[in-house]
């Protein structure tokens, strides 16, 4: 049986400047908490939107990994 790939999303809350870009793009994946973002569900099924959010973050505070390999933000 092949394992379904799982993505892990983390937000570096020290870097986050609360722009709200990620939350506006993907409200199910990010929430603003005390005016900074966090990812309420750490592991998600592969979803392009989470990479878009990581790309769009002005603070580069969002990291997406697949099996420990960084796949977002994309360069």
């Amino acid at each position: 049986m092949r394992a379904v790939p799982v993505w892990r999303t983390t937000v570096d809350r020290d870097r986050c400047m609360g722009s709200g870009v990620c939350v506006a793009l993907a409200a199910s994946l990010f929430v603003l908490d005390d005016e900074r973002s966090r990812a309420p569900v750490e592991f998600v099924a592969p979803d392009e939107t989470v990479l878009d959010a990581a790309d769009s973050c002005p603070a580069r505070a969002i990291t997406v990994t697949e099996n420990g390999r960084v796949i977002g933000p994309r360069d």
């Binding site: 870097r15 400047m17 609360g18 722009s19 709200g20 870009v21 939350v23 506006a24 793009l25 409200a27 603003l32 005016e35 878009d52 790309d55 769009s56 973050c57 002005p58 603070a59 580069r60 933000p73 360069d75």
Partner: protein
């Protein structure tokens, strides 16, 4: 419960000259619901003044910017200036933003800090060497952000005299024909510049965007031109106005710049507070249209109705900021919305912050005794408020 609504009131509230925040805003914040406003042109709109409502409207996908193309957009200027990326919604917006977002991240900008520091110090030194008085706008506030955005994009700095008037028209309430003519000229200028970059690629953002178009087909030719124009205008207009605005406030209310020289670690927090404090615009951000019925601040905004957000008012909301009308240069937890919020949050915010910090630092170091040398002459027909000229001595 629908709130009974009277005739829309005339907007914008703020005077073009000076930096006062109209008292009308505090009244609107305290009143129930939202006010209906009518701008000089376009449809009437709802006006949002409270911080929490501002973040709701700017951050919620049920509000659309792209809808502006199907409406008579409420606006202060007679003509309509295509806003490029600012007039799109996801997924188009995400695609366009992704092309430039990585060029302006905090980390990329930090690498530019030494260069921008040297530039700011050089300009301040030139001003000091040529002797007082000087016009802070012409000799410092304008050349700094213009040089920075020109280098990033790959626009010749020597062309500043050319594009300055076109760019100023984009953020003015000048006659529709004049603004349209300026936008045509700026666009023709950009088309030529893009052709030059196609022939001679360089290490700059115009070249990067051309590659995204020609190799990866991620944007159309029209979008490419618009994106470059937008970055050139947005990349310097606000910063060039905020530098003299900040200096004006510091000289006026804070006894000058000496304390910044003695304690430069306080500069970042001071910049954030100044960003919060200055109501830069005469009016509000570009309208957003509700795509379904949404309750905002106790009012049911109907699908198809436009809402305008005053970030200047939201930044002075007493529900969010203690003593909002006090300039507290060490304010903590200062999450202002001067750069907007949500998907359109200013892509250049990390660059703007860096330039504002380095501008204050250079002035404080090279001319700590900076003081006014005459009355500030304010811009008159600009939607972005600030000095037209500001004579200073040292």
């Amino acid at each position: 419960m629908p709130v009974p609504v009277g005739d829309p009131v005339a907007y914008p509230f703020n005077e073009a000259a000076g930096l006062e925040l109209s008292a009308r805003y505090a009244r609107a914040q305290r009143a129930d619901g939202l006010e209906r406003v009518r701008l000089p042109y376009g449809e009437p709109a709802w006006l949002v003044t409270r911080y929490a409502d501002a973040r709701l409207v700017l951050g919620d996908p049920r509000f659309s910017r792209a809808a502006c193309t199907a409406h008579d957009e409420p606006r202060e200027q007679p003509g309509r200036v295509t806003a490029g990326i600012g007039a799109t919604d996801p997924p188009d917006h995400t695609r366009l933003r992704g092309l430039v977002a990585k060029a302006f991240t905090v980390q990329r900008m930090e690498r530019l800090r030494p260069g921008i520091r040297a530039l700011a110090e050089g300009l301040a030194q030139d001003m000091a060497d040529s002797g007082p008085p000087a016009d802070l706008v012409e000799s410092f506030a304008l050349p700094l952000p213009v040089a920075v955005i020109c280098r990033l994009l790959g626009v010749p700095e020597a062309d500043r005299a050319l594009f300055r008037a076109w760019s100023d028209d984009a953020v003015s309430s000048n006659a529709a024909e004049q603004v349209a003519a300026s936008m045509r000229e700026l666009s023709a200028y950009m088309v030529e510049l893009i052709a030059e970059h196609r022939a001679r690629p360089a290490d700059d953002l115009i070249t990067e965007l051309i590659e995204a178009r020609d190799v990866e087909e991620r944007l159309s030719e029209a979008e490419l031109v618009e994106q470059c124009m937008g970055l050139l205008i947005a990349g310097h207009e606000a910063t060039a106005m905020l530098i003299p605005n900040f200096v004006h406030l510091l000289l006026d209310r804070h006894g000058g710049l000496g304390w910044l020289r003695d304690d430069p670690d306080r500069i970042p927090a001071a910049v954030e507070e100044l960003l919060r404090f200055v109501p830069l615009r005469t009016g509000a951000l570009a309208a957003r249209w509700a795509t379904e019925d949404v309750e905002v601040g106790g009012v049911l905004v109907r699908a198809g109705e436009p809402v305008m957000v005053s970030v200047g008012a939201a930044n002075h909301d007493a529900r969010r900021f203690t003593t909002p009308d006090t300039l507290d240069l060490g304010r903590e937890g200062n999450r202002h919305v001067a750069f907007g919020h949500g998907v359109h949050h200013c892509v250049g915010a990390p660059l703007a912050r860096l330039e504002l910090q380095e501008a204050l630092r250079a002035l404080a170091l090279r001319m700590p005794s900076l003081h006014p040398a005459g009355e500030v002459v304010w811009k008159r027909r600009s939607l972005v408020r600030g000095p037209h000229t500001m004579s200073v001595g040292w």
